[in-house]
């Protein structure tokens, strides 16, 4: 109990962990910022009737979901620079995470879009809506409600997956805790870091409950 019995040491650890958490949070928010919209494009590509588009997109999704995220992270960090020049650690992480999560979001969106009744498209057609209008004004708003639950699952996983950036030495929450554990020989920093992740996901959970309630105004 070397940290919990020593307030001064504990405060120092907490401030280091908080700094690490800020890095974790920036990975988290930037990944969502890029992957949520990218996922929609991927979903549309996957659903395209044009084989030359849907086939490579399917292959991309297979690779992203079928191989370890950590391996993808290594690939971006060690091999991509050979083609395009040096990429800082944090940016490498964002690239790997964004492309990985976009694949998962794409499949969630695809499921949501395909679950919309054919009658909605027909009603839109006979009312004269164009295909783009039908998608934006009728299909998408209904899809959002249906995908909230699976999306919340992925977002919660992402909070924890940010710890994978430890593998390429990004100074995020998990790496800070691991270093503190190595230097002190106490597992307390790792458990405290665990509480940090739990706190973040509690907020995520509440946020999605609130969002779900906001979409409760209709059934369907």
């Amino acid at each position: 109990m070397q940290y919990l019995n020593n307030p001064e040491l504990l405060m120092k650890l907490l401030s280091q962990l908080s700094e690490g958490m800020l890095t974790s949070l920036s990975i988290f928010f930037c990944t969502l910022l890029f992957s949520l919209p990218l996922g929609l494009l991927v979903a549309l590509g996957r659903m395209s009737k044009r084989k030359w588009l849907s086939a490579p997109v399917s292959f991309y999704i297979l690779i992203m979901r079928g191989t370890p995220l950590m391996l993808q992270l290594f690939t971006v960090y060690f091999f991509l620079p050979k083609l395009v020049g040096p990429i800082p650690r944090l940016q490498s992480t964002l690239i790997a995470f964004t492309f990985n999560y976009a694949a998962y979001f794409a499949e969630i969106y695809r499921g949501g879009i395909m679950s919309i009744d054919k009658g909605q498209y027909e009603a839109a057609q006979v009312l004269g809506f164009t295909r783009a209008q039908t998608f934006m004004q009728i299909v998408m708003p209904q899809t959002i409600k249906r995908v909230l639950l699976p999306v919340s699952n992925e977002v919660i996983t992402l909070v924890k997956d940010t710890s994978l950036a430890t593998a390429i030495a990004v100074r995020e929450l998990f790496l800070v805790a691991k270093n503190a554990t190595s230097s002190s020989g106490s597992v307390e920093p790792l458990f405290i870091a665990g509480l940090f992740y739990l706190a973040m996901n509690t907020i995520v959970t509440f946020f999605f409950s609130w969002l779900t309630r906001r979409f409760d105004y209709y059934r369907g």
């Binding site: 009658g119 027909e122 057609q125 006979v126 009312l127 004269g128 209008q133 209904q142 209709y218």
Partner: protein, 252 residues
């Protein structure tokens, strides 16, 4: 006003419509009757471009929606033209197909604003007038899921009318409703008939067809087997097939 000549349609080599021709004139109420699978819904869907025909011609106000090209294959009008022609037709579905995420009022205004380009105020006036007509003025702020099936179908009728179609098509509008709600919806259609609105109604309600329609089409196996005034088609001199069909429904 609507001319259909020799249209044919098959789903996976199974002929659903075979050489169907009909004409609908201004102010006419046409009822299409027949067993499930006789092709009557498919016919209606072809008129609204919800299905494409394999052969034949459809003209609305003399303008071809689809006509035979030089090889005799059906060629549809260009996209923009086609959309304009389809807007002359309104369509009411068996299961309403209201937009569940929009209020009743929004369901009626969205296409007026986004498709016809009417102002918000203009669309609102039209929507409220139509809601009053179908007796649902007090429901404008509700969502479809808060309404009964009959109310939803009346909203769907108002939504179709909001775009001022020349011909309103109903695809078994009461098949998903219990007898009481059915009457609610049929009363609205009766009122529209009294206003001399041009309508095509696919229905299983024989008494309604007889009472409201001025032209009845009886279909079987993708072919029109009898057509004429209700008296001609459903009266004493009706065909044996139709007698059998009406017998099945327990109607006179």
């Amino acid at each position: 006003m609507l001319e259909v000549s020799h249209i044919a349609k098959a789903f996976e080599n199974e002929a659903v419509l075979r050489d169907v021709s009909l004409t609908v004139r201004q102010g006419q109420v046409v009822a299409i009757i027949g067993r499930s699978g006789s092709g009557k819904s498919t016919l209606l869907r072809c008129l609204n471009h919800l299905e494409t025909v394999d052969a034949g011609e459809i003209r609305i106000d003399g303008v071809p929606m689809v006509s035979a090209d030089e090889n005799g294959k059906p060629a549809y009008a260009p996209k923009a033209e086609l959309r304009k022609l389809c807007l002359k037709m309104g369509f009411v579905f068996q299961n309403y197909n209201l937009f569940p995420h929009m209020t009743v009022l929004r369901n009626l205004c969205q296409a007026q604003e986004r498709v016809l380009g009417r102002s918000k105020a203009e669309a609102l006036v039209r929507a409220r007038a139509l809601l009053a007509k179908v007796g649902l003025s007090d429901k404008e702020r509700q969502y479809p899921c808060q309404l009964s099936g009959g109310q939803q179908q009346r909203v769907a009728i108002a939504r179709a009318l909001a775009l001022d179609p020349e011909i309103l098509c109903f695809d078994e509008p009461t098949s998903a409703l219990d007898p009481q709600l059915t009457q609610e919806v049929l009363n609205v259609i009766r009122e529209l008939a009294a206003e001399k609105r041009t309508m095509i109604v696919v229905t299983h309600e024989m008494r309604f067809a007889r009472e409201v329609a001025d032209y009845v089409i009886f279909m079987q196996d993708g072919v029109i087997r009898a057509q004429g005034t209700p008296e001609e088609v459903m009266g004493q001199n009706r065909t044996e097939e139709l007698s059998a069909f009406m017998g099945l429904l327990g109607d006179d």
